[in-house]
Symmetry: C2
Subunit: 297 residues, 2 copies
Amino acid sequence: MKIKPECATCIVRQVVDASKEISNNEKEQFNLIKACLGVIEKIYGEDAVAAWMGTTVHRYLKKISGNPDPYKRLKDTANEIALNYLEKLKDELKLCNDYNPLNRIICKVKLTIAGNVIDFGPYSTDIDINKKIEETLSGKLKIDHSKELLNDLKDANKILYICDNAGEVVFDKILIEELKNYCDVVVSVKGAPILNDATLDDARIAGIDKIAKVITSGNDAIGVRLEESSEEFLKEFREADIIIAKGMGNFESLTEYDIEQPIYYIFKAKCLPIAEMVGVEVGDNILLKNKKLKIKN
Amino acid sequence: MKIKPECATCIVRQVVDASKEISNNEKEQFNLIKACLGVIEKIYGEDAVAAWMGTTVHRYLKKISGNPDPYKRLKDTANEIALNYLEKLKDELKLCNDYNPLNRIICKVKLTIAGNVIDFGPYSTDIDINKKIEETLSGKLKIDHSKELLNDLKDANKILYICDNAGEVVFDKILIEELKNYCDVVVSVKGAPILNDATLDDARIAGIDKIAKVITSGNDAIGVRLEESSEEFLKEFREADIIIAKGMGNFESLTEYDIEQPIYYIFKAKCLPIAEMVGVEVGDNILLKNKKLKIKN
């Protein structure tokens, strides 16, 4: 997915937020942001891919700041919020497990989207996360390809489940357990920190390593960057019968490739460019089976 | 007032909004925004003055787009909204006029701040303006130097009232009429379009030219730029016993000068850097007498 003109605002806001995480010193913040503005100006344009513009900028910010993980504090907070919230979700989860197979999937997909709102990328860092989670759980899937997913699951031997953010992975575990009723699930996280994306540490905090094979992308690209992916990731990617990709970054990047297998994108449309691309409103929750011709930009 | 690190986000968002006003063509929007990012990157830094960074960027946008007035449509809309709203305010205004001199000033200052929310600069262009106006009218002045103003008015011969935005000027007229009970009022608007700032056209639409002498700054700088101001403006500026400056742009710029007369700033603190500088919360309404030592950055 290519960027839209307004993506300039979002990437600059991310740089401001990240710079404030990196340093409390205003002079240093100015220097970091100014340097990133130069990089953004060079990449920005109608052919820029959203996730890759983000990758270049956030990698640059890590490099010039000497901070390999600017979102560490926010990721730790997100994991903590998610783990605490999981306690509150026990009743919801019990209800989920009473449903028929289709409704169990819908219910648990919604739970993982609730996790996807704990995201300090497109949102600013000061939103009321609890409120956003509750809104997501009480809402509906605006695009709901759960029947297609259930149907594809019946013939599948292996799923590659590509995670998105720290915190969110706590909720992903619930859906991953459900998917394991049908086939093997291999779970992928980032090979190194970028933005608030989940790494091996976060997958372990969520306990995903206890229930599934966890691999990494082998790199720190936002979304998926096949050209930079590890052999291990590419092998699992090729072998998977179904790919499940969480969050906007994976959607932004995977829609740039021609991929043979069915891909299911699960995310909340957090900005207008993404919402318009899939034909929904900002804030809508999505379980979308890849339909290249319709969604290709 | 110097910029804060996060001002990068706001100026980029303004450029995005303005570019969308200038053209419906995405390619053209990308070109305009990309070019402005280059300019922003050069100016941005801890010594940049908020209003002057905005001036440079918006002037550049006018120049490269060949559009001398990108906010024309939004200004016309703001004038229309304000004039329509004035009808609804008749009861409020009647009440205002029943108060004692001090409360009349407070009431009418609040009315002009209600006008100041019709501002497409710091806010994005899609906010619910009616709701914001009502919130402002029902609220209080967080900083309230109305007693000082009333006191200064008793000895004043002439006020220079420096306007801010189109639309807002419709509400300014109410306060200007009140001030005329004490002394002469000269009203200043911009010499040429910049952002959504009021020009002579807007002052006329508001009917201010019917009740006061209206002059222009002689230039298109956001806020006040004394170095570029016309002789006419500088003469009125020097002669005025009191200066009343509306909106954040005038505050951002006038706080960069050492000015002898009392200046009263009237605005809603629409962003964190401004709110922090005057020691209030975002959204608070302000009638602040200039106290250089306290508010100088």
